[in-house]
């Protein structure tokens, strides 16, 4: 038994002990003694100790018989779709987002385009997408989506409704060109320019509209302010939405909430759960993305306390011990999304392949191709447009497949570390998160490993803890 290095990670919950077996991608409950023996091994480079009492030996033997505790690790880091990239980008693009303008009528405190280090991300500018560029982009997409039944064209900014006439032209052109596809449109807007006429257009043309709204007037206005006068925008947005509801009641949208963890969040939770105007509208939320910001959004103590309390109530509501209506919609939605995604990731496997790659990267450009105002291509809208490493081509010359391959195989720059990382299957580090001013950086990637492992471990623990208390995520 001694000397072997099972590829596992041990973890503990208030009620029990578990091992996460990387090869089978399964969580297995073990007794305290076995846990301690395996924990000891993990602390010593994963090598099993020479001596163990008979009970532990028997447990280890049973686990092995059931296919767990394999020492197998990947031999080579290479994404399984590496050889299919050309196909994916020529035939299989699912979604394209057009940056119709780099201008915005807001200056949000956390916005990546106005609070950023210039070397890391572009800033707001007056660049607009020309009609010709936009229509060329639709043609480009049309030639490369043949294998997708459902396709989506998104409009992104800056504030995309500043270019509403362009959006109308592109929409009409795409509908004519792609009449035999299941075509949907998306737009993400601050809603300051939203009118009943615009809402009617979006409704008639199969748009999924996302409206950025960060919470109560106090919370929202703290960060989302007009560029022209620095005033908060909540009252304007609410007025616009009231007009739209009155004149175009069929128009539906989703609120996107950006949560700033530096501030208390009580009113935020209350608004979307209790205010009649907001409670019926679907929501999604994220924490501030401060990747490109100079000032980092470090969570404040009051936020942590309040958010934890709401999260706890949400757990209780899923357990049936707290009224669903009184729980925060924000935390309930977050928990539901996290755990349904987690269940998908926990698909059992026989073992890790010899050649494989950690989780994290998607196929750059295939899932959400982003086209900037000048027709440059990026893997998605979240990466830095200022980075040459993320620029994967342009509308005239197509994709730079070498760059795409580098981004897809980002884990090759930390290959040895990744091969031995227990969070291999649950890694979330894509190329965009390892982009250091135009260069894919092993240092930057490595610096985030602890956080990723901690996230994965917390997720495991929360899932197991919830399961122990009888909480089901199936509903």
């Amino acid at each position: 038994m001694g000397g072997e290095r099972p590829f596992i990670h041990v973890l503990k919950t208030p009620l029990s002990n578990y091992i996460y077996d990387v090869n089978t991608n399964m969580l297995v409950e073990v007794d305290e003694n076995t846990y301690q023996y395996l924990q000891e091994a993990e602390l010593h480079g994963g090598v099993l100790g020479q001596t163990a009492d008979e009970h532990i030996v028997q447990n280890i033997k049973t686990l092995r018989t059931q296919g767990f505790l394999s020492s197998k690790r990947p031999k080579e880091i290479r994404h399984s779709h590496s050889d299919l990239v050309e196909y994916h980008l020529n035939e299989n693009i699912a979604q394209m987002a057009l940056q119709v303008t780099q201008q915005c009528n807001f200056r949000c405190s956390y916005c990546a385009y106005c609070a950023s280090d210039f070397e890391l991300q572009r800033n707001h500018s007056s660049k607009r997408m020309a009609v010709g560029t936009a229509l060329t982009a639709v043609d480009f997409f049309a030639r490369r989506c043949g294998n997708q039944e459902q396709i989506t064209i998104g409009f992104y900014g800056g504030e995309p409704l500043l270019e509403f006439p362009l959006i109308q032209k592109v929409t009409n052109y795409a509908e004519r060109k792609l009449y035999a596809k299941d075509l949907k449109f998306t737009v993400t807007t601050n809603a300051s320019l939203l009118t009943p006429d615009i809402a009617r257009f979006l409704l008639e043309h199969n748009f999924m509209t996302t409206i950025s709204l960060d919470g109560s007037p106090e919370t929202h206005d703290r960060s989302r302010r007009f560029a022209r006068n620095g005033q908060g925008s909540f009252s304007v947005i609410r007025r616009n939405l009231e007009k739209v509801r009155e004149n175009c009641p069929e128009f539906k949208y989703t609120f996107n909430i950006v949560i700033d963890p530096r501030y208390p969040c009580e009113s935020l939770h209350q608004l979307f759960s209790q205010d009649d105007f907001f409670r019926e509208t679907p929501i999604m939320s994220t924490l501030i993305d401060d990747q490109f910001s100079i000032e980092k959004a470090v969570p404040g103590e009051i936020f942590m306390q309040q958010d934890s309390r709401y999260a706890f109530k949400s757990y209780l509501s899923y357990q049936g011990a707290y009224e669903q209506d009184k729980a925060s919609r924000i935390t309930c939605t977050i928990l539901s999304d996290i755990f349904s995604g987690f269940k998908t990731k926990m698909k059992p496997a026989v073992s890790l392949p010899d050649v494989t790659a950690p989780g994290g990267p998607c196929i750059p450009g295939q899932q959400r191709l982003f086209v900037s105002t000048d027709g440059s291509l990026f893997p998605c809208e979240r990466v830095s447009e200022a980075s040459q490493a993320m620029n994967i081509g342009n509308l005239q010359n197509g994709f730079d497949l070498k760059k795409v391959d580098k981004i897809l195989n980002i884990a090759q720059i930390t290959a040895e570390k990744c091969k031995n990382c227990w969070a291999f299957r649950h890694c979330t580090l894509c190329g965009g998160l390892c982009d250091n001013c135009g260069e894919l950086s092993a240092g930057l990637r490595g610096s985030q490993c602890n956080d990723v492992c901690a996230q994965a471990e917390n997720l495991f623990r929360d899932y197991l803890w919830a399961k122990e208390f009888g909480i089901s995520w199936d509903t």
Binding site: D83, L84, E86, Y87, H88, E91, N92, F141, A142, R143, R144, C145, G146, N147, E149, Q150, I151, K177, L178, Y179, A180, K181, D182, L183, T344, K347
Partner: protein
């Protein structure tokens, strides 16, 4: 008649590639594929005719003459798309004398198309292949209490089945048909799609999909229907392609549980079986397992595999409860077979490649040839 094919998509490629099988009165002169289907602008060879056509995105760009429209079978994504496609077809009516429809439209849209034909200036003749192939064509009626037992089919039977949908069954069967005919065999054939009558053989009979006909009755009907075909056509060989998949994907994605394959193979036990599989990057034990499944579920082992370019993302398919797949480049298949499947105990080919299809054909021919009996003593 000069035929425009619309909407030309990936599903239609086998028909155009084997256009030589079309009756001599049909000549494909134009191909139109909607934007976003990935084919506009491509050059396509029309069978072995030496003629190459450019696939156009709109009717206005078509240069060749046409007086008829062929609507090939294709997967209709949703009602709105179907309605828009019908609108395009109706707009063509002033140019048409004949419309041949092998697509499964809704009753309303079929009627709209039919009405548009009748009301056109040319009184365009509408032929709907989806109405063909009832039992009545051979004087049979269901239920078949009068046919309690199965008929012996006294010709060699080759079956082409699929591990899953879209695994090139139709393409493989057309290639095999061409080879058999070229070698002088008289072939009766049942294809897996509607509209096969234009290619000179039978579409898979609609009664096999009929909801009010039970499984036992379908087996009897299919057997007797094939028997009548053999009597009528006196072939040297019967080639059958079964639509759909031989098994379910999982408990949620069942696609008929492979019941159609099961029923068909109860009605006729083939002498040779070609199984069209998904793309596989490495062999594992898959081929033997599939052959074993066929032996015990369908009654015959696999004689040859065709590897299609369909790659299913198993994880995503389970996540979304529907099949998430990709069609990889076909060049990859031959390379994979050469590198990874050279030692396979059951031969596997890229049947969409003409050279490899010849090899598959030879394997089948060898299987079907009568063996000399050698006395031991």
């Amino acid at each position: 008649m000069n035929m425009l094919v619309f909407p030309y998509g990936y599903d239609c490629e086998p028909i155009v590639r084997h256009a030589g099988l079309l009756g001599s009165c049909y000549k494909i002169t134009a191909l139109v594929s909607p934007g976003g289907w990935g084919l506009a602008g491509k050059e396509v060879a029309i069978g072995d005719s030496g003629i190459t056509l450019t696939v156009h995105e709109s009717f206005e760009d078509v240069e060749g003459e046409f007086d008829s429209l062929f609507i090939p079978p294709f997967e209709i994504q949703n009602e709105a798309v179907e309605n828009r496609l019908i609108g395009k077809m109706v707009s063509l009516m002033p140019h048409l004398s004949y419309v041949f429809c092998a697509a499964q439209f809704s009753d309303t849209n079929r009627k709209n198309l039919k009405d548009a034909c009748h009301n056109s200036n040319h009184h365009c003749i509408f032929t709907d292949f989806s109405e063909y192939n009832g039992l009545g064509a051979y004087g049979l009626t269901a239920p078949l209490e009068q046919y309690p037992s199965l008929k012996q089919l006294d010709v060699p039977v080759v079956a082409v089945a699929g591990l899953w949908e879209k695994t090139d069954k139709f393409e493989v069967s057309l290639s095999l048909r061409e080879h058999f005919i070229k070698d002088g065999y008289q072939v009766s054939q049942v294809g897996s799609r509607d509209g096969c009558e234009m290619l000179g053989f039978h579409s898979f009979p609609r009664f096999m999909f009929q909801k009010d006909l039970d499984g036992i009755c379908k087996i009897s009907c299919f057997n007797h229907w094939l028997h009548r075909i053999i009597i009528d056509e006196q072939p040297d060989l019967l080639l059958i392609t079964i639509p759909g998949a031989v098994q379910d994907f999982n408990e949620q994605i069942t696609r008929g549980f492979g019941a159609l394959h099961y029923a068909a193979f109860q009605a006729v036990v083939p002498d040779a079986l070609v199984m069209c599989t998904l793309y596989m990057s490495e062999p594992g034990k898959n081929l033997e397992d599939i052959s074993m499944l066929c032996r015990y579920r369908l009654g015959v082992p696999v004689d040859a595999f065709h590897m299609s370019n369909l790659l299913i993302d198993v994880n995503k398919s389970e996540e979304y409860n529907s099949i998430v797949s990709e069609s990889i480049y076909r060049e990859t298949i031959s390379r994979t077979i050469e590198m990874e499947f050279a030692d396979s105990s059951i031969p596997i080919f890229n049947g969409a490649n003409p050279d490899e299809c010849v090899k598959m054909y030879k394997v089948l021919l060898e299987k079907l040839m009568p063996k000399d009996v050698q006395a031991v003593f």
